[in-house]
């Protein structure tokens, strides 16, 4: 019973933060309506979103999430953007595309989705499909450097998986 109630906390917190940030002001009216909406959303959706409460309230994981976001959007993303931009502007368009297998070794849904969206958000790689039983992503890669699982894993998803394990697993 108490775990059921604890589960409400992360969802309601996230809803409240989004509500206040989008509103952009902190008057008593905003706080009252925000708390009401947060409670309602948590009651409706917490069982769909949270499985392990202790994990979701762990500050170290949150810190890793922030570090990963900063690192991802400043360095990894910028490199990939420049690479694909070069291919677009180049008059001959050097393309070498193909769909390759990329293995992953994480268990939870959140970790899988973090890796998959990180791959897709990086220009140059798009997750076309995934196989949950064999633990494989099928990734469309703009410049196929090799088809072996080791090569693809090293080139595409190693960094993401390292952080995803720290954040969600």
């Amino acid at each position: 019973m108490s775990s059921q109630l604890l589960r409400l906390i992360p969802v309601s917190l996230v809803t409240f933060i989004i509500y206040i940030v989008f509103t952009g002001s902190i008057t008593p009216y905003d706080i009252v309506t925000g708390v009401a909406i947060a409670a309602l959303t948590a009651a409706l959706f917490s069982h769909l979103l949270v499985e392990n409460t202790s994990k979701s309230l762990n500050p170290i994981r949150l810190l890793w999430l922030i570090i990963y976001t900063l690192y991802y959007f400043t360095i990894i993303e910028m490199k990939a953007h420049l690479d694909v931009a070069k291919r677009i502007i180049h008059p001959k368009m050097p393309l070498n595309p193909g769909i390759v297998r990329v293995p992953y070794n994480v268990g939870t849904e959140y970790a899988i989705v973090t890796i998959a969206n990180s791959i897709t958000n990086t220009p140059g790689t798009v997750v076309v499909d995934l196989d949950e039983d064999k633990k494989i992503f099928y990734v469309h890669w703009i410049d196929v450097k090799g088809v072996e699982p080791e090569t693809t894993y090293k080139n595409i998803s190693m960094t993401f998986e390292k952080y995803a394990k720290k954040i969600f697993d």
């Binding site: 509103t23 694909v84 931009a85 958000n121 099928y138």
Partner: protein, 123 residues
């Protein structure tokens, strides 16, 4: 001190907005030039992340310095941040959903290609 930080953030924001405009143009060009749907997905990613998320974050960084907006500059900042957050979540998912459906329904062939393991595994 706070003024200095605000000014630095303002110029970083301006840089991000300009970068976003350039990436937007490049993404559009890529969408036009690339030969096939699956390759165009990468150009669309540039358009969505480089062309929308970076300028939105840039506007959010610029917002605290815009004094004439008064109280409502936090409204501008919050709207920009939440929109950026939503696009970060939604754009890759939309691309993935479209790619998977297109590959399953065989609407367009995967041409040119070096290798297609998904086709092999599905048989």
């Amino acid at each position: 001190m706070i003024e200095l930080v605000k000014t630095i953030l303002f110029f970083i924001g301006m840089g991000l907005v300009g970068l976003g405009a350039v990436f937007d143009l490049i993404g559009a060009l890529g969408l036009l030039r690339f030969p096939n749907f699956f390759v165009r997905l990468h150009a669309a990613t540039i358009g969505a992340i480089g062309g929308a998320v970076y300028p939105l974050i840039g506007v959010a960084l610029m917002a605290p310095s815009l004094e004439s907006f008064g109280q409502y500059r936090w409204y501008l900042m919050g709207g920009a941040i939440i929109t950026a957050l939503f696009i970060v979540l939604a754009a890759p998912t939309g691309s993935h959903a479209l790619a998977r459906a297109t590959h399953r329904a065989k609407v367009v062939p995967v041409e040119p290609k070096v290798v297609d393991h998904l086709e092999e595994d599905r048989g």
